[in-house]
């Protein structure tokens, strides 16, 4: 094995031994890091699900044109023809009031409530898939609102757009929280390494007197920080998995009742790998800053 690899192998071995030599304190540090990291990771998972949910609607904008209960068949025919001829309409689908009532009673579990109604309160409606963005939706909405027999026109994407705007705010919040907690990871590692350096000061000083380079001094601490960050990330992912399992069971009940498909999914392998690598690097950064601070102070003396 060449000298460079040998030095790194020894540093990793040294870091691992140091970690095992203080199991309680190492476990507590790792746990603190894990708990702190699990919060933004869990939030980001929720966010990813919500984003997917909103994207399904915003990528396929629809407009619902509700006819007045008093609309005549001729008026319905005219509205359909106008919609088919409209530049913004991609596909026009008619949902009769009886079919709408059946759908509602099936999908939302409202059968009991709807059965007590004497008459069907739902109107006939056209659901229009819109070709184009927000402008096309708005144009169609404005045009259709003025046609005879039309009582109300609703853009189905509006709430999704609002949700997306809300998710934008949430994304920023998650980013800010993640940045703060990442800084916390660096600070925790900085302090852990500072305490370790204090405990090993005599050893470091002797090593420097007999020819240890800064790299030789720094290496075991860098690997310690790296290992601590990595283990913290593993704990964080484990906590997220526990949360996903617990919440998943509740969501399954909710999905069964409302016929929805909302899930708190597990992260992808790429995300686990990426975040774990980032945490390991942040741990190493905290350690590097701590050792650098010690070496700088030593030189100043």
């Amino acid at each position: 094995m060449n000298g460079w690899l040998l030095a790194h192998a020894r540093a990793i071995d040294d870091a691992w031994r140091r970690l095992r030599a203080q199991p309680l304190s190492a476990a507590l540090s790792v746990l603190v890091i894990g708990i702190a990291l699990s919060l933004p990771l869990a939030l980001s998972q929720v966010l990813a699900q919500a984003q997917g949910f909103a994207a399904r609607f915003t990528s396929n904008p629809q407009v619902s044109v509700f006819l007045a209960p008093t609309a005549q068949p001729g008026q319905r025919q005219a509205v359909e023809e106008k919609l088919l001829a409209h530049a913004a309409a991609k596909r026009v689908h008619f949902i009769g009031r009886d079919a709408a009532l059946q759908d509602l009673s099936r999908s939302a579990g409202l059968r009991d409530v709807l059965e007590v109604l004497e008459t069907n309160p739902l109107p006939d409606a056209f659901v229009v898939d819109v070709a184009g963005g927000a402008k096309a939706v708005e144009q169609l909405r404005r045009d259709a609102a003025g046609w005879p027999g039309v009582e109300h026109v609703q853009s189905d994407t509006q709430w999704a757009q609002r949700l997306e705007a809300l998710l934008g705010v949430m994304r920023t919040v998650v980013l800010v929280v993640a940045t703060m907690l990442a800084s916390g990871l660096v600070a925790i590692t900085f302090n852990t390494i500072r305490l370790q350096i204090l405990g090993r000061r005599a050893e470091i000083e002797v090593a420097q007197l007999i020819g240890a380079t800064d790299g030789f001094v720094r290496r075991p601490f860098l690997y310690f920080g790296l290992l601590q960050g990595l283990l913290g990330a593993i704990v964080a992912w484990a906590l997220v998995a526990v949360m996903a399992t617990a919440i998943g069971q509740e969501l399954a009940i909710l999905n069964r009742l409302y016929g929805s498909a909302i899930r708190f999914g597990l992260p992808s392998a790429g995300m686990v790998l990426g975040v774990s690598t980032l945490c390991a690097l942040l741990g190493a950064l905290g350690a590097a800053l701590s050792v650098q601070d010690y070496l700088r102070r030593g030189r100043a003396k």
Binding site: L6, G211, D214, G215, F216
Partner: protein, 223 residues
């Protein structure tokens, strides 16, 4: 070759430990640095082994001016030396074997070769049977010999010993001095500071005398 040219050392606080010292030590030479306590012997040894840098003047080791070197180059230069510290500077949480392994770990020696060398060095100073003992379990003489084992284990070209017989009884001191003499006989450059009369009598080498930080023995003054 070690060369001091008008070297001075002033510590923070204004204390000048060494003043305008010029000195040349050739390869394989044995030099005894004499002087009372506080004369500047330890400081001179620290300058010669690149542990300290001069405040003024120059210290040149094998053609390298220590003041012109960076941190890494200085560390690498120190590996050429075996230093026997006055206070041993042993690591008390590591056993004798691990203490001797330290310079070899720093030097990046292959593990098996390092272990072989560490045991040979311990054997040389008569401590192989105590390789697992912590320094606290060793006598003063044994600690001194352990420090010597650590200084020679990487086969340095120069050994610098600061009061190697201080605090030792006569038998232990004679043993240590014989050991140092034997290293010099093998061609290792030796710089030994001492105010021990027995050491001065037993070791045959060039003498440098310091008083209040200045060189007063002209024999080795700058040529």
């Amino acid at each position: 070759m070690l060369n001091l040219s008008h070297a001075s050392k002033r510590y923070p606080g204004g204390i000048e430990a060494l003043h305008d010292v010029s000195l040349t030590i050739e390869r394989g030479q044995l030099v005894l640095v004499e002087g009372d306590s506080g004369a500047g012997k330890s400081t001179l040894l620290k300058l010669l082994s690149a542990i300290e840098l001069p405040s003024a003047g120059a210290v040149v080791i094998d053609g390298q001016n220590t003041r012109a070197l960076g941190t890494r180059a200085l560390a690498l230069l120190r590996r050429q030396f075996g230093v026997i510290f006055q206070d041993h500077k042993l690591l008390f949480d590591r056993n004798a074997f691990e203490n001797v392994m330290l310079p070899l770990d720093i030097g990046g020696f292959e593990r098996r070769e390092a272990q072989r060398r560490a045991r040979a060095a311990l054997d040389k100073v008569g401590l192989l049977h105590k390789e697992k003992a912590l320094p606290v379990a060793l006598s003063g003489g044994e600690q001194q010999r352990l420090c010597i084992a650590r200084a020679i284990v990487h086969r340095p070209s120069v050994i610098v010993a600061d009061e190697p017989t201080g605090n030792l009884d006569q038998t232990q001191a004679e043993r240590v001095l014989d050991m140092l003499d034997s290293f010099n006989a093998l061609g290792v450059t030796m710089v030994i500071s001492t105010h021990d009369r027995m050491a001065r009598e037993r070791l045959d080498g060039q003498r440098v005398c310091l008083q209040s930080g200045a060189l007063i023995e002209p024999a080795l003054a700058a040529r």
